[in-house]
């Protein structure tokens, strides 16, 4: 479970987070939806302890990230944006490396890597260096890195960006599988269809604060609109930053 309470963060002169509070439950997929510059990435980086909030706190399974970063981070898997691949390593080396950093021993990390490579159907690229990978191949590698150590909470920053249909389907299936296994999945996006199709709970944010939250149906009802896209526009009050 990821719980964010009253987060405030100023970057330069901009109030990137402005009293942000929401909860992402275990066994559910929570979508963080917002236009460009809404503070989605800042929020996720704060949850990861990479940024320090000016006030408020972020908890992973009840552990405060700012107070016990090592324990909290062990319960997290991160799919960052951009992916942060090592161009000169192969996906197998890359995934094993991060599995070991997350606390698996060498042989467990090796086995977990084999499993995740099979699960994501990436055996064809597993032993090629990442240099020159397509966006989909990069996404799969980064995703494998995020879930290899089987963390209870998985955070994905814009995972669907630049993906083709096949890759999007693989991602979707994996997220649903993680949800079924009881993991807490939190992902940020500005793609309505993806969020509408996947999320049990949607948090709409703009200007660093939560505008509305609830299930897709609840949000549509709240805004009095038919689709999530229309509800979103009505709720944030502009059509800025909506990608098809």
């Amino acid at each position: 479970m990821i719980k964010v309470t009253n987060l405030n963060k100023k970057i330069g002169d901009v109030n990137a987070l402005n009293g942000l509070s929401f909860t992402a439950q275990d066994g559910k997929i929570t979508g963080l939806l917002g236009p460009n510059g809404a503070g989605k990435t800042t929020c996720l980086r704060t949850v990861f302890g990479l940024l320090k909030a000016d006030s408020g706190n972020a908890e992973i399974d009840g552990i405060d990230v700012a107070k016990e970063p090592m324990v909290a981070k062990q319960k997290l898997g991160l799919f960052p944006d951009p992916c942060g691949l090592y161009e000169r390593l192969t996906p197998r080396e890359y995934i094993t490396f991060f599995a070991q950093l997350s606390g698996l021993n060498a042989s467990d990390a090796k086995q977990a890597t084999i499993d995740v490579i099979n699960k994501l159907a990436m055996n064809d690229i597993a032993d090629r260096r990442c240099q020159g990978f397509s966006q989909g191949q990069r996404m799969k590698t980064a995703l494998a890195q995020a879930v290899v150590h089987n963390p209870s909470n998985i955070i994905l920053d814009e995972p669907t960006r630049g993906l083709d249909v096949m890759s999007t389907r693989i991602l979707r299936e994996l997220l649903l599988l993680l949800k079924a296994q009881g993991h807490c999945v939190l992902f940020s996006s500005h793609v309505m269809q993806e969020v509408a199709a996947l999320c049990d709970h949607v948090v709409i944010m703009a200007n660093g604060q939560v505008i509305a939250q609830g299930s897709v149906a609840e949000l549509c009802e709240h805004a009095g609109k038919e689709t999530l896209e229309e509800a979103f526009v009505a709720l944030i009050g502009s059509d800025e930053g909506i990608a098809a």
């Binding site: 970057i11 330069g12 980086r45 990861f48 302890g49 990479l50 940024l51 320090k52 970063p69 090592m70 324990v71 981070k73 062990q74 997290l76 991160l78 960052p80 951009p82 992916c83 942060g84 691949l85 090592y86 161009e87 000169r88 390593l89 080396e93 490396f97 991060f98 070991q100 950093l101 997350s102 606390g103 021993n105 260096r129 890195q145």
Partner: protein
């Protein structure tokens, strides 16, 4: 913790070893520098071995055949070709022969520009040759008058040169050792920038920091990997030096520079702390910079400091004080080792301790920087 460090270190080494361009850049220096020094020395030695005949303008040379013969025997010749001769004129007075036969001082006039640095050496050569001729003639005159010529010499200087052949070539030796120390800084410079500023630019640094590990672990693994490549660079340059310096005809200069296996082991031991310090310094500076390009400029600038320290020793400036400083002391110890002199142990120990303290300081500073979001995201 050790386990985590090993995992990080292995990844750094694997990543770096596949960065062919950075490795080659380091190798170019390690192979090129000793070969460059050798070529330079060979050219220098060739010039020393066959000094060119000095050609000058001599006016009224017919009046002084004895002097001319003496000058010729000292490689000084008269020439009428203004292009090939130096701008030095030796004018023999018209009454030269008369004064000589009367046993009185005969005048020769040397006309040249003494402020011309290139000419000064040649002017001295002519002056010395004439002075020698003058004293020979004077001795003969005394003998012919029945006087012992040694009366003219109140003091005789006897010089016992204690220099061993190996201790003579101080400056050249300094350059040779300088190339070794610089290898520690240059061999892994690109790798150091790539693994720090480059890692941040490729966004993998923030991912790394999102994992449950301390920033000091990351920094130490990077320093370890960079040091490994620096030391490999040192070993390459030592091996190349061993073979290339063996081909220089040192004997003509009265000394020799031989890279023995003992010296190689000694340099590896002495240079390891420097390599650690160099790696931590380069990582620190690279993280301070906001981008890869900025890091390249800063690291190059910062490397002037160790280079200056090393050069101060090479050119023997303020040796008494400077020899206690890091790098300068190690360079001095390496030079003394080649010369076969005793190693200055207190200086070496103190500077090694300072070098290691600097390494620890830079490591902690880098680790602290990685906790700053401004540094991690280059804000």
């Amino acid at each position: 913790m050790i386990n985590l460090l090993t995992v990080l270190f292995k990844k750094e080494v694997m990543d770096a070893s596949r960065d062919k361009r950075s490795i080659m850049a380091g190798l170019y220096y390690a192979i090129g520098a000793p070969i460059g020094v050798c070529l330079l020395m060979s050219v220098l030695l060739q010039q020393l071995a066959s000094p060119e005949a000095l050609k000058i303008n001599i006016e009224n040379s017919d009046s002084a055949p004895g002097l001319i013969a003496h000058l010729n025997s000292r490689d000084i010749f008269a020439s009428t070709d203004a292009n090939e001769r130096k701008d030095i004129t030796l004018s023999i007075s018209d009454d030269y022969q008369q004064k000589m036969s009367e046993g009185r001082p005969a005048t020769v006039t040397l006309i040249a520009d003494k402020s011309d640095d290139k000419l000064r050496k040649h002017i001295n050569q002519v002056e010395k040759a004439i002075a020698l001729y003058s004293s020979e003639i004077a001795s003969l005159r005394l003998v012919s008058r029945g006087v012992d010529p040694s009366l003219m010499r109140a003091i005789v200087i006897e010089v016992h040169d204690q220099a061993t052949p190996d201790s003579k070539g101080g400056m050249i030796l300094g350059i040779v050792v300088l190339t070794l120390i610089l290898a520690l800084f240059y061999a892994a410079m690109n790798l150091a920038i790539d693994t720090s500023a480059g890692e941040r630019e490729r966004n993998s640094l923030s991912l790394l920091l999102s994992h449950p590990l301390h920033s000091l672990h990351i920094v130490l693994a990077k320093i370890g990997a960079i040091t490994t490549f620096s030391m490999l660079g040192l070993m390459v340059i030592l091996v190349v030096s061993k073979f290339s310096y063996a081909m220089v005809p040192w004997q003509q200069m009265g000394f020799s520079i031989t890279i023995t296996p003992a010296f190689m082991l000694f340099s590896i031991a002495i240079c390891l702390p420097i390599a650690l310090m160099s790696a931590s310094l380069q990582v620190f500076v690279s993280f301070m910079a906001k981008s890869f390009k900025e890091a390249q400029s800063y690291v190059t600038m910062v490397l002037f400091i160790p280079m200056a320290l090393s050069m101060i020793t090479t050119y023997d400036i303020a040796t008494d004080k400077v020899q206690w400083l890091p790098i300068a002391a190690q360079q001095f110890a390496l030079m003394e080792f080649i010369k076969g002199n005793p190693i200055p142990i207190p200086q070496l120990l103190l500077s090694t301790v300072i070098t290691l303290v600097l390494c620890v300081a830079f490591s902690f500073l880098s680790a602290r920087m990685l906790k700053s979001e401004k540094v991690v995201f280059g804000l």
